[in-house]
């Protein structure tokens, strides 16, 4: 069964300029480009790690190029934006019911933020940052 055709014509490439809400949706969509590119960058890094000490040193050296710094800064902004919006959505995606009442949404999202902070601090500590 095919869908009924749209009554109104929707411009396929510019529809999101119509409303701030669509723009916010699209700004979240765009983070996937940077996060996806960063994942491929991680694959390259692991491949360099497997290739031996000199390859790994070369990889760390290549990180210091201006293009790499700009890319990673953009990836950081995208990753943090993705994380924040993801945790904000958890209260809608998986509401928790205890007895008759639902746990307040802020508690669910808040618990994710706390877990995120703790996990990040633990990983930074394990990586020897402090």
């Amino acid at each position: 069964m095919s869908r009924r055709p749209l009554v109104r014509e929707v411009p396929p490439t510019t529809w999101y300029f119509r409303q701030p809400r669509y723009m916010r949706y699209m700004s979240r969509e765009i983070t996937s480009i940077f996060v996806g590119a960063y994942c491929m960058f991680l694959v390259v890094g692991l491949q360099r790690l497997a290739a031996g000490p000199s390859a790994w040193e070369g990889f760390l050296q290549a990180l210091t190029s201006p293009a790499s710094i700009v890319f990673q800064f953009l990836a950081l902004v995208a990753a943090v934006y993705h994380a924040a919006t993801w945790f904000n959505a958890t209260q809608k995606a998986m509401p928790v019911q205890i007895g008759e009442d639902f746990v307040p949404g802020n508690v669910i999202s808040g618990a994710h933020y706390v877990a995120w902070a703790v996990l990040s601090v633990v990983i930074l500590h394990l990586a020897g940052v402090f």
Partner: protein, 113 residues
């Protein structure tokens, strides 16, 4: 019962979205520090190699990277559609195959370490 391939695509997507949210920002912070010349001690070859040598380390690395890749592929597919690319089957095929191929590269690299 209606058959659908959606759960197969969706489970790794949701898992990957959570993994990205929890892990990728702090990993970017670490590589950004290295990029700015303050290489964290944990990113030295010895420490990274030791982590990737133990079974648990391999599992963590593969889990984080493979799930993140799959989730990103699925999100990029939706992003392509939203920007007006209507060739969804093509986008899905290219992106999912890229994610699987990259995961395979990670698996082979980890097995080599």
């Amino acid at each position: 019962m209606a058959k659908s391939n959606k759960p197969v695509v969706w489970f790794p997507f949701a898992a990957g979205g959570t993994v990205i949210a929890f892990f990728i920002p702090v990993i970017v912070v670490l590589t950004l520090m290295a990029a700015l010349g303050h290489v964290p001690a944990g990113l030295s070859y010895e420490r990274m190699h030791a982590f990737a040598t133990c079974g648990l380390g391999k599992l963590v690395i593969f889990g984080v990277v493979a799930l993140s890749l799959w989730s990103s592929a699925h999100r990029l597919r939706c992003t392509c559609y939203d920007f007006g690319l209507r060739a969804d089957t093509l986008a899905a095929t290219v992106l999912y195959i890229a994610a699987l191929a990259a995961s395979l590269v990670v698996a082979l690299a980890l097995l080599k370490i």
